[in-house]
């Protein structure tokens, strides 16, 4: 009901979206907003799709990515070779399909690792405070003085090339970001006035307050994680491009690109498609991360 009916109200009533009770937990509100964000869902769908492509690569790729066919070198994209062939006659499309097994999963795994180690450090630092916090933060400051790409390069130099080594190197590079974020999030919850006065408001009320604070803190961490995945995917391909970590014949997208550099005038498709695939993957994650950010704080949309 209303004191005065207006066209705007009628429009909302018709759409049956008139939500009078604006009261539900912020966490659930955020979920609803996220679900309604079409670009974020699109991003998520693309990511899942790419993960599946990587998983079922042997079934999807029309050719074995390692087979070299000297009769079919540097061919432009065609019906038989969707992305064309490279200088050794290998089908680029198949190589890209298998490439989905590298950058994307590595990016995700590194973030999870980074969250566990870095987040753990951050939580310890925030929880214990004082000296422990100081020591951990000084340590992080030192690591931060080295640009993260450089740190990854150095670690790969020590550990050698290979998938596991890449994972360790990149996870190490993202630890400092995770530590800082988690530490900040815990501080946010810890210093909130409600938690401080927990004795006076009783334990059950404390749980209610936490139900409002924790989604926010978790939200910040999740947004950071989504951004970190994008950054990691770019780092993996960048490092592979310069020949550090995953090298030919591993069909990592960046490595494929580096092979194409020499043939850029003869066979531009060698450079176009792998890069496009990287861009689309990172874009998908960025869209999803963007949707997360809007869901958490719609005012700043």
């Amino acid at each position: 009901m209303a004191k005065m009916m207006t066209p705007a109200m009628e429009r909302l009533h018709k759409k049956k979206r008139y939500n009078v009770t604006g009261v539900s937990s912020p966490g659930r509100e955020a979920w609803k907003r996220l679900a309604r964000n079409k670009t974020a869902i699109a991003g998520l769908v693309i990511v899942v799709f790419l993960l599946l492509v990587g998983l079922f690569a042997p079934f999807i790729a029309p050719y074995d990515y390692q087979v070299q066919d000297y009769t079919k070198m540097l061919q432009s994209p065609s019906a038989e070779h969707l992305f064309g062939t490279d200088n050794l006659g290998r089908d680029i499309f198949s190589r890209c399909v298998y490439g989905a097994r590298y950058s994307l999963p590595i990016g995700i795994v590194c973030v999870i690792l980074g969250l566990v180690v870095g987040g753990g450090l951050g939580v310890i630092a925030a929880y214990f405070g004082g000296k422990t916090d100081n020591i951990i933060m000084r340590f992080i400051d030192i690591i931060q003085a080295i640009p993260s790409t450089l740190l990854c390069i150095a670690l790969v130099a020590i550990l050698g090339n290979g998938v596991i080594q890449m994972i360790i190197a990149i996870a190490a590079g993202s630890i400092q970001g995770m530590t800082k974020t988690c530490r900040a999030a815990i501080f946010m919850v810890k210093s909130n006035e409600y938690v401080e006065s927990s004795k006076s408001i009783g334990v059950s009320n404390l749980m209610i307050m936490l139900r409002h604070l924790v989604p926010n803190a978790v939200g910040i961490i999740v947004i950071n994680a989504a951004n970190a995945v994008s950054a990691n995917i770019l780092t993996v391909s960048s490092l592979s491009y310069i020949g550090v970590g995953l090298v030919s014949p591993t069909p990592e997208w960046g490595a494929i690109l580096s092979e194409g550099k020499a043939y850029i005038s003869a066979a531009p498709h060698m450079v176009l498609f792998p890069g496009l695939v990287i861009a689309v993957t990172v874009l998908a994650f960025n869209l999803f991360g963007n949707g997360l950010r809007d869901a958490l704080d719609p005012r700043l949309k």
Binding site: M1, A2, K3, M4, T6, P7, A8, M9, L12, R17, Y18, N19, V20, T21, G22
Partner: protein, 348 residues
């Protein structure tokens, strides 16, 4: 009757429209402000008082807020234009005319904001620009409206600082170097710098502690008396109203439920809500074990009833109250009450 009224508000209706609901913030509000008088606007948080103030200033955030109808006349000039309402997304002609009229109104507003009418906001801690000298913030409002040299503006700003009890030597200091009460005085200095005809003060003392509150009120009263400025004093505290106002209106769920002079409201309270407000104040003379609050909560402005908004909490309710929205009834000259139980003048 004294000459021209500074402010005439008639039948003002303001809604906030979002994707999920429509908030009826102001529902059919009409009142006048005469030069030199202090009008108190009393109500709970969320009753719509600030929205009324912002509408008069033209400072409502345009995307969610929407003036549905009404008239706001400042010194005779009309500031609301609801002629062009785009009926749909593609009603481009209406949209264009709307934008044109909005721009025109905004231009006129800019000439009177800060000079003819000014507004002081609730929280002094955030009302001042943290990276500008406080003196410069006063100079800003002077330079916008008056054609004076920089030196002259500087001098006047210093005078304003002294007038509100701050040493002019603090001109070149930043807001964070002042306490809450001092910050509020700076805000007052900015509001008074161009000798406005009307000041809208939105709970200026709510964020201050009681002793500072008393000082600031005293100062505002003195300034008002010496400069003759009219004021709209928004508050939720009847004590403040008694201190400083001459007339008062009580707002509930976006409507005026009772208005009149201080005697009318304080000594001949008619509306059950106002009565409830007075009853809930702790009384030193009485020996009471418990406070007597008004039970219940104000109705959700997204879902207001088509009848009396106070019905659910009213102790004097009856079936007649649910028939339709009660109108304002004049129970004695100048004393208006929105209740079906109020007896109009001359009716017994």
């Amino acid at each position: 009757m004294s000459g021209n009224k500074i402010l005439e508000v008639r039948d003002l209706v303001v809604h906030y429209e979002t994707d999920e609901a429509v908030t009826e913030a102001v529902n059919n509000v009409s009142f006048d402000v005469v030069p030199g008088e202090i009008l108190g606007i009393v109500g709970e948080t969320g009753a719509g008082k600030t929205t009324i103030g912002l509408s008069i200033m033209g400072l409502l955030p345009k995307p969610p807020s929407h003036v549905i109808q009404g008239s706001i006349r400042i010194n005779g000039k009309e500031f609301i234009d609801t002629r062009y309402e785009p009926k749909s997304f593609f009603n481009l002609a209406a949209k264009r005319m709307r934008k044109k009229t909005d721009r025109h109104i905004e231009k006129v507003y800019r000439t009177i904001r800060g000079k003819t009418i000014t507004m002081m906001f609730q929280d002094p801690m955030t009302a001042l620009n943290p990276v500008m000298y406080v003196g410069d913030q006063i100079v800003e409002v002077i330079k916008i409206h008056e054609n004076v040299s920089a030196a002259e503006a500087h001098k006047r700003a210093c005078d304003m600082l002294e007038m509100v009890g701050i040493s002019a030597s603090r001109f070149k200091e930043y807001p964070h170097q002042f306490s809450g009460g001092m910050k509020q005085r700076v805000v007052i200095a900015i509001a008074l710098a161009c000798r406005p005809d009307l000041i809208i003060a939105d709970e200026p003392t709510t964020a201050l502690d009681v002793t500072i509150q008393a000082q600031v009120l005293k100062m505002m009263k003195e300034l008002q008396e010496s400069l003759g400025t009219a004021m709209m004093f928004i508050t939720h505290d009847f004590g403040v109203v008694a201190e400083i106002c001459s007339k008062c209106m009580v707002v509930y769920a976006g409507e005026i439920v009772e208005s009149g002079t201080l005697e009318h409201i304080f000594e001949n309270t008619r509306h059950p809500y106002t009565k409830g407000l007075f009853n809930s104040l702790p009384n030193l003379d009485e020996d009471a074990d418990r406070l007597k609050p008004i039970l219940g909560l104000m109705p959700n402005p997204m879902d207001l009833p088509g009848y009396c908004s106070f019905y659910d909490r009213c102790e004097e309710r009856c079936d007649r109250c649910k028939e339709k929205n009660p109108k304002l009834i004049e129970v004695e000259p100048g004393h208006l009450v929105r209740c079906v139980h109020a007896k109009a003048m001359g009716v017994e």
